[in-house]
Amino acid sequence: MNAYQEFSIIGSRPVRPDGLDKVTGRARYGADLNMQGQIYGHIVRSPHAHAVIQSIDCSQALAMEGVLAVMTGEDLPEPGDSVLGSGEGAIALKDLSPMVMSRGKVLFHSQGVAAVAATSPELASQAAALIEVSYQVLPAVTDMHEALSAEAPILHEDRFPDGFPEEPTNLAAHISLEVGEPDAAFESADVVIEQTYSVPMCHQGYIEPHACVARVDAAGRVDLWCSTQGHFTVAQYTAALTGIDVGKVKVTASEIGGGFGGKTTVYLEPVAVVLAQKAGRPVKMIMDRGDVFRVTGPAPGAQTRVKLGAMRDGQLVAAEVECVMDTGAYNGNPAGIPAFMATACYKLTNARSTGRAVYTNKPKIHAYRAPSVPQVTLGVELAMTELAAELEMDPLAFRLKNAVEEGDANMMGAPYNRIGLRECLEVASAHAHYKAPVAEGEGRGVAAGYWINAGLQSSATLNVLSDGHLSILTGSPDIGGSRASMALMAAEVLGIPFDHIHPQIAATDAVGHCDVTGGSRTTLATGQAVIQAAEQCVAEMCRRAAAEWEVEAGVVTWSQGAAHYGEHSLTFEALARRAGTMGGPLTFSSSLTASSAAPSFGVHICDAKVDQETGRTTITRYTVIQDAGKAIHPAYVEGQMQGGAAQGIGWALNEEYLYDENGALENPGFLDYRIPVASDLPFIDTVIVEVPNPLHPFGVKGVGEVPIVPPMPAVAEAVYRSAGVRMRDMPLNPPKIVAALQER
């Protein structure tokens, strides 16, 4: 049962408080802050994908006029075996530190080997060219299948995956799970299909490159400004990577021009801090677009083998999923997620799933919207569609027959609470798009998707201003309109106008801890902290009104922005104006580790037309149906649904990391790394389904990630139906489609 059942302002669509600054160019992003006296950092990067660093000579650079500091990996503490964070978010320092600066060895092309700070960006880049690094070049491997072969060069001589301790391999991790008796269940199945599907490594494609500026004062205190999805995480990581006490690191988050998971870590920040410490001047660093592609963490490429067994009546009886993921040069922990979540949409009592991660000479992967799930879902959902065809069943009806609901358990063991997959499938089946006949020459595909969603730690502070306005401070960078949602939630509880509320993102020293804006958690968890703090405000205002009226606090009620008792009432504004004489300033804080997270499900319908001669695919119609729990600000929920679909369509059709034989990225820019532009997409239709999350006071569920999960299999099926040839390896770009058509 949700604490709030009826809403007055939740579900409306006011303009976001940050909108005006953004459209008028006043909003300040990562590269927009300048500190007095700042100098500029530049990173020296490896021209080899795999090499031993024999020596680094910075003397010529240091001798140059205007050069104030240099650094190498030796200036960062040895990572040892320490681990940062815990649970899903845990990361070993030895996997993080070399993504900032290598030491001893480089494991991917363009990896940082040294850095220099000088009085202008031009000088810094000229000085960087004077740093002499000598390398002993080693053979590199960028293909994960080759990396597992006996001849492959080994990236880490000192790492052995759990359970395979004989000799070093490039296998980074291996996780296997099993429920029931899958082998026997396959024996009993009427129909069994088995296919292999693949997805290339791809990038989040955020528009704003990484940028920061850092100052270290005489007392060793760090003041850092950067573009990030989580400045508390930046503080924690930067402190650990530089050996500075986290209490001395203050981080302010700039406005952010996209992240999609890619800005939940640090790249430049520790370098800027070390250079600033050495130079005694603030250091600014901006990564250029090419390096964003070359050295930040992309999403893992993956190959997934899927075997499904079903009875003639459409009952799924067994599943086996084996997913191999390319983790890049260090372990980004991609293997567990496919093992646990591959079959999360379906009732399966007999299933086996395996996830493996493989080291290759490429940048370490990092989070990208529902990390690792789109890759494995391509396989499972396309196999579901292929199996539906074999059973001569409607693909949505087949899914509905097997869809999980409350009480079902998935590979993670715990049974689902109230979830909304069935509702989404029912809405999809009845949708005008699905009912419309497929146009001549076009094809249609559908797919479902799941994402777990995170809870984690959040804090909020509410300050009632003397004119009856309210400021909200949280530590959650606003990527998708969360400030508007925070204001709506406070307005709902307090009953005051939306535009009297001023939500802000406070620095790490000004508000309680907040984990990253990621895991689709901010509206749920930080929102819950806002709701709790607003409830405290209501309670205190009622208490003050009761004191004024000399009655018991319990008899005072709060509605429509005022305290009431019999004939008496006192408005929020009146209580705010008189705060000084009624008990002092009204300030409320709430911090929590949210245990209210609930998974999201979505169903997508895609129509596509393939030009049989050129192999170009046009997406002609696209509909996203998704359970949002309760949509706080529906327009921004729809924005998430559309954005996720757009990114998934790009991955399906064109996006792909291309490496040359020396392990250098061939397409480090938006010209040749083809994310879709607006004219590549139809208007993406959305239907928000609301199955309230029983664990959250307003019924909220995370909405940001699941929309990137279904597009690849939905698009792939639509392309198959239009082109007439089945392709299971993304991306479905024009040369690949023409080659498949010619082979037919």
Partner: protein, 290 residues
């Protein structure tokens, strides 16, 4: 060496002087290639000479015989000219494919040609329309066909101190029309995997009396495929003739395989585009003469 000097002369003679006094000079029309090159470090002129304040270089002049497009006239001004888009709908399409509205407000046909990228969109359209380059320099003025102007990727026929002044295209009759098509994976903000410019002339009976077919992005330079044109002339543009033109085009193409497409794919698709561009140009003539 970074840029030391930026000059914006108001006359052609002034510009010529600035290009022939020995300084490492680069001319700038829209700058949409030059400035990208400077940023990437592939271009490092000491002096930049802006051409946009020289009237002859930005003017567009149309008379009964010919159309003269100033080398530095922006794509936007060409696309909004009262005559050029109706005379050369294919050339207009090519210019309209360059970048975005913002890019088109700056970039020029002359810059697109001088930059000499194998994938430049306007070059096949200019070749199909039999355009001539008007060049001026220390040795005086001369003219040259566009197909002879581009020598290789990034290389043009201009000599030390020379400047492209204008592009001169014969004015087409109502029985002549052009078309330009390119293949990109995306709808816009992309670079041609293959491009095709076609110009056709039909007589009253619909027989093709002249045809020029030019292809881009499938060889080191845009090519005039004379055999493809020859396959069309004298025919009613029937399936056999089109097939012959397609075959001749694929024969002439010698693309590389790279991140933008395999050689096989480019060879295949340039043929597809030839057939479609011929059909489009033909439809334009039929439409205007009916």
């Amino acid at each position: 060496m970074s840029i030391q000097e930026f000059v914006a002369p108001h006359s052609l003679s002034e510009a010529k002087g600035l290009l022939s006094d020995g300084a490492m000079a680069s001319v700038l029309a829209g700058g949409t290639d030059l400035l990208v090159g400077v940023r990437l470090g592939t271009r490092s002129p000491e002096r930049v000479v802006d051409l946009k304040h020289i009237p002859e270089l930005t003017a567009i002049h149309v008379d009964a015989e010919s159309v003269r497009i100033g080398a530095a006239a922006s794509a936007f001004s060409i696309l909004h000219d009262s005559d050029v888009p109706s005379c050369f709908p294919g050339l207009a399409e090519a210019l309209d494919l360059i970048g975005s509205t913002q890019i088109q407000g700056r970039c020029s046909a002359g810059g697109n040609l001088c930059n000499a990228s194998p994938a430049a969109d306007s070059i096949p359209a200019l070749i199909a329309n039999d355009a001539q380059c008007l060049i001026t320099g220390p040795a005086g003025d001369h003219q040259m066909r566009v197909e002879d102007f581009v020598l290789g990727p990034g290389k043009n026929a201009l000599k030390e101190g020379e400047l492209l002044v204008a592009l001169i295209l014969p004015r087409p009759s109502s029985q002549t029309a052009d078309a330009y098509l390119r293949l990109t994976p995306r709808t816009e903000m992309d670079i041609a995997v293959a491009g095709v410019g076609v110009s056709l002339t039909l007589d009253g009976e619909g027989t093709c009396t002249a045809a020029r077919v030019s292809i881009g992005a499938v060889a080191p330079t845009a090519l005039l495929v004379e055999a493809a044109g020859a396959a069309l002339v004298g025919t009613q543009l029937d399936a056999t003739a089109i097939e012959a033109a397609v075959a001749a085009t694929r024969e002439a193409a010698c693309p590389i395989s790279d991140k933008r497409g395999t050689a096989e794919y480019r060879t295949h698709v340039v043929g597809v585009l030839v057939a479609r561009a011929v059909a489009q140009a033909q439809a334009r003539i039929v439409e205007t003469s009916s």
